[in-house]
């Protein structure tokens, strides 16, 4: 049962639990009216200690579309945080008012720490530093389910900054729990998938390459990621590597006709805009999936969709 649980990293939920969220998201997509009031009278606290308009809007839209309400801040300078209040105290106080909380914090491990202070209120991690971003993973899974029919038996290419990309780490770890997944990791040597992730995978189930062009024809899913400026030690290195792997029309011609291209957004230039009109490009549809999956998650954690008939 998911009622009352926290989601700090995808590993907190069993695959069956994740799939139950996916199925609820499917149901919400087909019958949104049926869910428009299930959270009536419930309050979500949205605690953004670092700005992230995209994620925050997605959560807030999700709660509002379930009929719930929102309190919160997206600029800690305007809250008691600036008076030096501890996180634990903030959470204890917020639990007095709200039914569920979403937290984003620049420091790794903060979400887990905070969840220990909440007695009954579920906490959702909306990103803690370079650590985890589990609802992005759920978004990716729902997108795969929606456009590829399910999460089993795919060849998944992951391209770009594999060293720092936390969304990629979360997704790889989670997809690895499904059946029949083969990964192809495509990155410059400097941004390779770190050893601590690779060691969790069956060596027969992944390969590493530096050449997107060579492997694109084998892929069912291509997950592109941004080479993030803020993750680099020096500006020079960023400039040297950022354009390394750009997806364009020419490369897309080599890909399967039913391959899908995903990207957590925002993109810089790793996907040429000419690809946007390709029906295989689903990255803008991902954002919508993100809202639906967050609706399903909130409903499950609040238990409003547990007691069915």
């Amino acid at each position: 049962m998911l009622k009352g649980r926290h989601l700090i990293e995808p590993g907190d939920f069993q695959i069956e639990e994740i799939e139950s969220i996916m199925e609820l998201a499917d149901n919400i997509i087909t019958n949104p009216k049926g869910y428009s009031l299930v959270c009536k009278g419930k309050l979500l606290a949205s605690l953004f200690y670092e700005p992230s308009t995209r994620t925050r809007f997605s959560f807030e839209a999700a709660m509002l579309r379930l009929g719930g309400e929102i309190i919160g801040f997206d600029d800690p300078n305007n809250s008691s945080v600036s008076k030096g209040e501890s996180l634990g105290d903030t959470i204890r106080t917020i639990e007095c008012y709200s039914d569920i909380a979403v937290i984003r914090h620049p420091r790794e491990g903060t979400a887990r720490l905070v969840s220990k202070f909440a007695k009954e209120m579920p906490i959702i991690n909306a990103g803690d530093g370079g650590h985890e971003h589990p609802t992005q993973t759920l978004t990716d899974l729902l997108t795969i389910r929606k456009y590829k029919g399910g999460c089993d038996n795919h060849v998944v290419g992951v391209c770009g900054d594999l060293l720092f990309g936390r969304t990629i780490h979360s997704l790889v770890k989670t997809l690895n729990r499904y059946h029949g997944i083969t990964f192809i990791f495509i990155s410059p040597k400097e941004l390779k998938m770190p050893e601590n992730i690779l060691s969790q995978l069956n060596p027969e189930c992944y390969q590493e390459t530096t050449n997107l062009d060579e492997v694109i024809g084998d892929l069912d899913i291509l997950y592109m990621s941004r080479v993030q400026r803020e993750r680099f030690v020096s500006e020079e290195e960023y400039l040297r590597l950022k354009d390394y792997y750009i997806l364009d029309k020419k490369k897309m011609r080599k890909a399967k006709t039913d391959m899908i291209v995903m990207h957590p957004l925002p993109r810089v230039n790793e996907i040429a805009t000419e690809v946007d009109d390709d029906p295989r490009a689903v990255y803008f549809k991902q954002a919508k999936c993100g809202m639906y999956v967050r609706m399903a998650l909130i409903a499950k954690l609040l238990g409003v969709e547990e007691d069915n008939d």
């Binding site: 049962m1 069993q14 069956e16 639990e17 799939e19 139950s20 996916m22 199925e23 609820l24 149901n27 087909t30 019958n31 009216k33 049926g34 869910y35 428009s36 009031l37 299930v38 009536k40 009929g67 409003v304 547990e306 007691d307 069915n308 008939d309």
Partner: protein, 390 residues
């Protein structure tokens, strides 16, 4: 008290034949072939008017909401609605308030049912305490009062709990009913576990083609697994009305109908789920359907050319077999649970006319076939829309 029912066509899983039947002490004493005079004493005669007489329907899956949600339905309103729909026995789910997970609450409901003396109640017990993930229920003390255990409404996502449940179903000899969402993947997992640890599994209200295929394969392997389908999933697809499992696609619906023809689906369960208008607005999933379930099944069967014997098998003999009841057929020494049906009736349905306390049903205005005229439980007429209108 002896009752003779004459001028009827007897229809059950064993076949169709004209006949007469004699009821004594709540049981079918004798089944006569129509030809030939019947020289027998009786206290009362019911002239069946040439209509069809079927064994009483056994609903494998319903929600009576009693105790705790009496504003949606009480055991009395639910059972009266069920009788109007031809149901003589009801398997009632445990998601009441309190949840039925202990012998005290379970016995209370059984007592209430026997005082009401309407339908026969087969009260399901929860599989885990309060539908939670901490403790299994106390099978030792519950098993004497029920042989059906289920956390219906809450999927069993944790594998270890499912294993414990299946193991207990062997040790205590009961049927474990599962509500599976996500449907196909959970059913597949449960089948794997069933193959590994054994047990008696019944999958509630299946709705998808893939699920059906998985269950078909499991049956081929000889596993003890059965499943049911609801009237609404057979009757409609892709409807915007909230129900769990949701309305599926047209190919899924077609597959369910094929699943009935080729025997993979064993029985029906209405999943009668009454909700107040307000709860429904807030998004409560479910359909109130006791009173039109038969007509929905029958209409689908007619449209698809499936025989009435099969309909009776799925409504009566199938669930009886699974539940271990000596019932579900019109046969000597079987209980006199009987339904008189007008198979030629055709008309529009109107949920506002339901006896059930709730009226949540999206099929108002649909034209359906078949109507229940009279329902007899253990030899006593409990619903009569036949003689009262003559």
């Amino acid at each position: 008290m002896k009752t003779l029912i004459t001028n009827i066509e007897i229809i059950d899983a064993a076949g169709r034949r004209p006949g007469k039947i004699l009821i004594e002490d709540g049981k079918i004493k004798k089944v006569y072939k129509e030809k030939g005079l019947v020289r027998v004493e009786f206290d009362e005669e019911i002239d069946g008017g040439g209509y069809a007489l079927l064994p009483g329907f056994i609903d494998m899956h319903c929600h009576l909401r009693d105790p705790g949600f009496e504003y949606k339905e009480t055991m009395e309103t639910g059972m009266k609605a069920a009788l109007k729909g031809g149901f003589t026995s009801l398997v009632a789910m445990a998601n009441t308030k309190p949840i039925i997970d202990n012998p005290g609450d379970l016995k209370k409901n059984r007592m209430k049912a026997s005082e009401l003396d309407l339908c026969q109640l087969i009260q399901v017990s929860a599989l885990t305490r309060n539908f939670g993930e901490d403790d299994m229920v106390d099978f030792d003390s519950l098993r004497p009062f029920t042989n059906v255990f289920s956390n219906d409404g809450v999927s069993i996502l944790r594998e270890d709990i499912m294993i414990k449940g299946l193991e207990a179903s062997t040790v205590y000899d009961f049927i474990l009913l599962t509500h599976c969402q996500p449907e196909t993947s959970l059913v597949k997992r449960d089948i794997e576990l069933l193959e590994k640890v054994g047990g008696h599994l019944h999958v509630c209200h299946i709705s998808k083609k893939d699920t059906l295929e998985a269950i078909g394969l499991a049956k081929d392997k000889g596993l003890d697994i059965t499943c049911e389908v609801t009237p609404h999933h057979l009757f409609a697809s892709a409807m915007e009305y909230k129900v769990n499992p949701p309305f599926r696609t047209y190919p899924d619906r077609r597959a369910l109908i094929e699943g009935i023809k080729d025997g993979v689906i064993d029985m029906f369960g209405t999943d009668h789920a009454p909700h107040s208008e307000e709860d429904k607005k807030k998004g409560a999933p479910g359909i109130d359907n006791f009173e039109i379930a038969f007509s929905m099944y029958y209409t689908v069967f007619e449209q698809n050319g499936i025989k009435l014997e099969k309909l009776s098998e799925m409504l009566s003999e199938g669930p009886a077999k699974r539940l271990g009841l000596k019932a579900g057929l019109i046969k000597e020494r079987y209980p006199a649970d009987l339904v008189l049906v007008d198979l030629n009736w055709e008309g529009k349905i109107n949920p506002k006319e339901f006896i059930s306390k709730s009226k949540n049903n999206p099929f108002g205005g649909e034209t359906l076939k078949g109507k229940i005229l009279m329902t007899i439980v253990k030899g006593n007429v409990k619903y009569d829309d036949y003689r009262s209108t003559i």
